[in-house]
Each structure stands twice: as C-alpha cells, then as structure tokens.
Symmetry: C2
C-alpha cells in the first residue's frame, strides 16, 4: 500500500544542507502494524509527514495505493489526507478555538456525514477515550494527556485506511496508554494499516514489524511476532 | 523550602466549577528529589504551575522559602521565577522566533551575566544535551525531542535552586532520556531541589519520594530509596 524509493528530505540552511531523510526505501503492505523507532532527531517525524502527504520528498518516489504522490496536485493530496489517512501529530495540532467535540467532528465533514450524526459519532469517540465530561473544553482547558487523547480520537474517528501516529502515548500514564493501544489494536483488527512512531518498548510490542531509523536512513527493518 | 496548605485551583465553566486541585497539603524540604505521578488529568501540571509561581491558588496557602507567595505582587513573583526556579514545561514553551541558543541564553539575562558569557554558557549547555550542531535552528526547525532538550537546557542553565520538570523525557528515546536524567541527577547532587512529573516508572526511580495525585488530591506520598 505504501512504497518509498530512495526518498530524501533536505533542508537548506544558509550555505549548508541537512538531510533529515537520506535515502529511505520501504514497502509497507496493507494491514501491517509497523513501529518506527530511532533516537531523537533520526528522521521519524519527517518520514511520517511525507507518508501522510503533509510534506513532499526532495528526491525519490512515493507511491501510495498505486498512485505516485509526486504527480498529485494540492487538491488531490488534500483529498487523500482527509479520506484515507488518520494522523496523530507529535504536538497534537488541535484547532485552538474549537472544543474537543468540534475537533473530533472535523474529519467527518470530508466524509459527507450530516452534522447531527457527526456530533453523535464524535461524542462516542470521546467517551471511548475517557473524555465524556470534557467535550466542551477548549484545548487550553485540557491537560496534556487529554489533548493527546482528543488528537487520537480525531485520527481514529473517520475509520482511516492508514493510521499514522507519532508518539501516541508520549504524555499518557500507563493505564490510559493501555486503553489507547486497545483502540489502535482494534483498528488494526478491522484490517487497517498502522504506522506508529514510539520510543517505548512496551508500545512497540503491539507491532509485527519494527523499522529503526538512524541519521535519516533505515538502520534495521525486522519482522516480529506481535505480543 | 515549599509548603502548600489546603490548596485549591478552581476553574469556572459557565455555571459549573471544576477543581483541578481540591485541597493539596504538602511540605517539600531543600534537596529533596520528588516524583509527581498520577493519571492523565489528575492535576499534576496544575500543581507544577502553582509551585512555579505561574498560576495562583484559588484557595489555600503557598509558602516558598519562608515567604507567602499569596502576598507577592507580579514583579516579586517574576523575580522569584527568574532567579530561583527552572521550569521544563509539558509543551516546552520555547520562544518561537529565537534560535535554540537564544532560548537557552534567556534565563541568564536575569542573573546579570554579560552577553559574551551568556553565549558561552548557553553553548556549553546545548553541547551537553547533544545539540551542539543545532544551536542556530529555530524551534520549528527542530525535532520534538530536540525542542524538549532545548527546554531542559534552558531550565538548567541558571543553576536554579528549584527545578520543576513536567514530563522531561516524554519525547525522548531511552538513550537520550538517560543522558538528560544524568544532568538532572547532577543538579540534585549539587544540593538543589527537584520536582518532576513523570509517568515512567524508570524515571521515578531516580527520586527519593513519590507523590501520587488523583482527582486533584494527594492519594499517596511515599519515601523511597533512590535507585
Ligand atoms: N483552563 C481550564 N479550564 C477548565 N478545566 C481545566 C483547565 N485547565 C485544566 N483543566 C482541567 O484540570 C484538570 C487537571 O489538569 P492538569 O493539566 O493539571 O492534569 P495533568 O495531571 O497534568 O494531566 P496530564 O497527565 O494529562 O498532563 C484536567 O481534568 C483538566 O481538564
Ligand atoms: N525545518 C527544518 N530545518 C532544518 N532542519 C530540520 C527542520 N526540521 C527538522 N529538521 C532536522 O531534521 C532532523 C529530523 O527531524 P525529525 O523531526 O524527523 O526527528 P525525529 O526522529 O522525529 O526526532 P524526535 O524523536 O526528537 O521527535 C532533526 O535533526 C532536525 O533538527
Ligand atoms: Mg519526532
Ligand atoms: Mg500535565
């Protein structure tokens, strides 16, 4: 479902160039459950942004679902992002002036769902992550872990074919982390493809493949038994 | 050094009131190494913001270093914050338009250190957290964990009497986490007081006391052998 061929992402700073990704080649099959690991600054979020069509590769090829992403224009990319991909960002990226409920209702707009139903689906999603009594709070009226759970709900609510989650449990205590991983496991059981950046070994155990990045390259790529 | 007496922090939302802290009483001695734990939304960041003089209690008393914080005006509070306290925020709170270096130089201004020396001290602090080659990057040109390390450097650089760290290793891989914990341990060995929110058991092991919050109250307060 995902094919990367020798992908680079290069930043120019003055007269220096920095390769955040330096030649990444990867194939990910439908319904794989992939953990992306690596030290701070190794390129994980950069990789996720390219996979999620939020950023373009500087060099190389990205084929998603049979289509070359490099050929798509802004409208087509937006369509793919809104309909096929659910994204949990490392810094949540919630709409600051919208309530938790409105934030989770947002992805459903693109699926042509009427407002009353969007409200109902989004409320249920928030109850599922323990935020039933926080639905009207704005992001700055929520704790760090509550914002993270709103971001997770928003990513899961449209039942996306591909979930990209950048450190989904980074701000959560172990009990809440387990509840969140249960929801992500459920999405995987429904046949969806999961790609998750994590630096916690316990979280990576949910996956059946671990890709490790180092200095913008794939250092290792190992299949494992999901435990 | 820190005394809280029956502290409340209440938010009014429409006709409802929400107690983020609901009667917290605590004494923390100089040079203690305290972990604050508890589930998402239990009141940890609210407690840290009050301890760091960034927020005021709605009810109750806070005596810091013998002075009642409730009696201080804005100027006095700012003075305390800038000179006695180092703060690592859950969402980093870096100056968005300043480089990593300028961000880390900032706390030294309040200590009357001349600019050339501020630059030197800040550079060394960034090298210590592995960001020697990222000093001129702006926060949005850094990875999540790199931003976290800049925030940590900025909190440590003024050698504060009290370090308040809200999930200092949340976005860091285990190797980088160990390096950061080494620096925080060093600060403790110099006699400073450390209060750290964490949800990772390995991080809490560095502490000699664990305070657990639940629904805005202290659920347990246990001394332990630092391991
Ligand atoms: N401005 C606000 N208005 C209303 N409620 C708020 C506001 N800020 C925080 N809260 C609520 O206060 C409670 C405590 O928040 P706090 O940020 O202290 O939690 P926390 O323990 O740090 O959680 P986490 O582990 O998720 O970071 C939460 O339930 C939150 O929803
Ligand atoms: N806009 C930019 N300009 C220059 N360099 C950048 C920019 N954005 C990111 N970088 C650099 O690219 C590298 C990879 O960043 P990325 O965010 O992908 O790392 P990461 O693996 O997600 O790290 P972390 O675990 O800390 O979140 C980092 O070294 C970072 O400094
Ligand atoms: Mg990252
Ligand atoms: Mg918090």
């Amino acid at each position: 479902i995902i094919q990367l061929r020798d992908v680079y992402r290069t930043y120019l700073m003055g007269d220096q160039s920095l390769d955040a990704l330096a030649g990444v080649t990867l194939n990910i099959q439908r319904n794989e459950y992939v953990a992306v690991v690596g030290s701070s600054g190794s390129g994980k979020s950069t990789l996720m942004n390219i996979l999620g069509c939020l950023d373009r590769a500087s060099k190389g090829n990205y084929v998603l679902n049979g289509t070359d992403v490099g050929d798509m224009n802004e409208n087509e990319l937006a369509k793919v992002r809104n309909r096929q991909i659910g994204f949990v960002f490392q810094s949540f990226n919630l709409l600051g002036r919208a309530s938790a409920l409105k934030n989770v209702m947002q992805p459903l707009v693109y699926r042509g769902i009427p407002i009353a139903e969007r409200k109902e689906i989004a409320s249920e999603a928030l109850v599922k992550v323990g935020l039933g009594d926080r639905m009207d709070h704005l992001p700055n009226e929520l704790s760090g872990g509550q914002r993270q759970r709103v971001a997770i709900s928003r990513a899961l609510v449209g039942n996306p074919a591909i979930l990209l989650a950048d450190e989904p449990t980074g701000n959560l205590d172990s009990k809440t982390s387990r509840e969140i991983m249960h929801l992500i496991d459920e999405l995987h059981d429904q046949g969806q493809t999961i790609i998750m950046v994590t630096h916690e070994a316990d979280i990576a155990k949910h996956c059946n493949r671990v890709i490790s990045l180092e200095d913008g390259k794939v250092a290792s790529d190992v299949k494992q038994v999901k435990s």
